[in-house]
Point group: none
Chain length 196, copies 4
DNA sequence: CATGAATGAGCTTTCATTCAT
DNA sequence: CATGAATGAAAGCTCATTCAT
């Protein structure tokens, strides 16, 4: 993958929408070429193939997401507050770029074949949550739970709820109010369903 | 789709594995033909195409899952107990047929294009949970929460956690201990993270 | 080809229309099966294949046409009168069964590969005309012309004019007034264009 | 259809022969590819399919034929002389490119599905003849006849006679002496059969 | 005798990818 | 550096045909 000029980066944004609408295999290079107005052979000049374009788009988004999450995790506050900030950052990234987030989730099944992306997802979604759960337990703010399961559950709750709102939004940007959804998520996650 | 003989139904089971390994688009009819030992033209005799085969497999599994869930929801016990039973039934279906469940989740992004399947997923996963949440709130066993979000979260928590264990199991059947995972899920969902 | 029962013969009539509408290759056995309400494997029981069905239909029609033409040629009257009767008989056969006649002409290009049919066409169209031309010249009723060319021309004039009317008729039966068209054809053929 | 380079145009000539030998449906893209030495995917790059290749070939020939006919019709001389010139031009085009002309006639039955070609046939064959018949009648050189029928007859006489000679010639180029055949045709058409 | 079930053979079509310019 | 032109490879799909019953 060659260095991507800012202009090219800009044009490529539109490619996410095509991937989101048609899926990876349903998307032809020609379609990407038409949408981005970059000749297909030029796409090949910059990328080694369709998969690398996908990787680039996902990587770009995950990088930005990671940055936001990183920010949240390093902030002040208790584990609980920082966890809320992390979830908000994750949902915010989804709300702001619904197309890319939809692609990511649609291609979850393919992600094992894209180790670079899998690692970035781990870095942006799993790792911060796992860390804060551990911190919270260590500092006695959280109950002692199975961290592995809890991380999966939180990851699942966040992305599926986010995806639900992304799909319901039919392409609006931002797709939903990330703070409100994050509050709703955190409320359940922290307090649980049960009336005590 | 013609009537599927029992023999055919049996052979088709193997197709799920191929779909799980390679994804829908990565799976060729020829591959299904080789795996099932049914000539590709015979597959076309029974199904209109690859998509109908996928629909059949998912439908088959979702039907069985629905049956288990239906059973759980109709049982005795409080909303809380029945919710636990539902989650256990869902995770149990996943553990017992990891390949099909993996296919389903890998193709979540495509599911809008398969309305029949989308409806079956709703019937097997969303609807029962939404109903029990409403019941639990009505009978004052659960706190008042946003049912839409809570349903998405629970759905996400269950399937992503299940999927996590399915993938970790590398093809073992059953893929994981569904009761143990269900307990873990229910613990967090009912009580929440926060130490009180 | 086995003996065709009258019932079968009756049902097969409808097949001409399909051949006429879709052409030989565009017609599937399944389409013939549906139209005739004879199962495709039963068609194979009676015929060796699609081509034999076509041959049967054309042969059937050509036989009837030949019978009419034979009648005309054997009748009383001068070569001129009998030629008119032949042309009328040919056009009449076309008008009465426009579908089959359209198939015949659409498949003219294939006819060399169906020697049996080619021979029947010769018997029903060329030979009678050639014979009457020779007779007419011999009896000094006709000018001396190149019989080969004149036969082709007359054949072409008759079938193309007939086809023109068949196509214009859009499926009506009879497709046109064969006597009127025959008069028109004979007028030109006998007298020529030139004002003398 | 993309712009066809001269080289491509040259290679495509050979395709007519295949179409003539095997008919449209009997001709596979692969056969065209082998004959023209153009890879089948390249054929698809230039044409949308087999039908467009046929259309191109027929269009090419009809254009040239039309040019010759146009020339004849615009020439000096009486309607009679110009009609003879038109018929000669038509037969000459057939003699010079027997393969394409054979394809055209073999696919006459399909021509309604190729409106562009049907129109070109009309322009090259019917229209000029109809016009000259009308002219000849108007200037009192021809008897008053039904122009519609007479045009069909003349069209039929010309193409069927031409086709007869094309088939008899077994691929020789030119396939026959167009002037001689045209004379023969015109003799009959102008003077008629009847001895007066 | 007639037919439902099954399939071998093969064609059209698409597309990722290359490369000369 | 960027791209228009070209193509190899492979997939989906159709259908004529067979045969056990």
């Amino acid at each position: 993958m060659r260095d991507i000029s800012d202009d090219m980066r800009e044009r490529l944004r539109a490619a996410s929408v095509i991937f989101a609408e048609r899926g990876f295999d349903g998307t032809t290079i020609e379609a990407l070429s038409e949408t981005t107005e970059v000749p297909s052979s030029t796409l090949y000049y910059y990328f080694t193939g369709k998969e690398e374009i996908l990787t680039f788009l996902l990587g770009d988004w995950l990088e930005r997401t990671s940055a936001g999450v990183e920010n949240a995790i390093c902030g002040e506050g208790s584990a609980k507050e920082r966890l809320a900030a992390v979830v908000t950052a994750q949902l915010d990234a989804m709300a702001k770029d619904p197309a890319t987030c939809q692609v990511l989730l649609a291609e979850l099944g393919r992600i094992d074949r894209l180790p670079h992306v899998a690692e970035a997802v781990r870095a942006a979604f799993h790792a911060p949550v796992a860390k804060l759960l551990a911190d919270g337990i260590a500092y006695d703010h959280f109950r002692v739970v199975d961290i592995e399961n809890a991380t999966s559950m939180l990851y699942g709750a966040v992305i599926i709820t986010g995806l639900h709102h992304v799909i319901s939004s039919h392409g609006a940007v931002p797709a939903f109010d990330s703070t409100a959804v994050a509050d709703s998520v955190m409320d359940l996650v922290l307090t649980g369903l049960e009336r005590v």
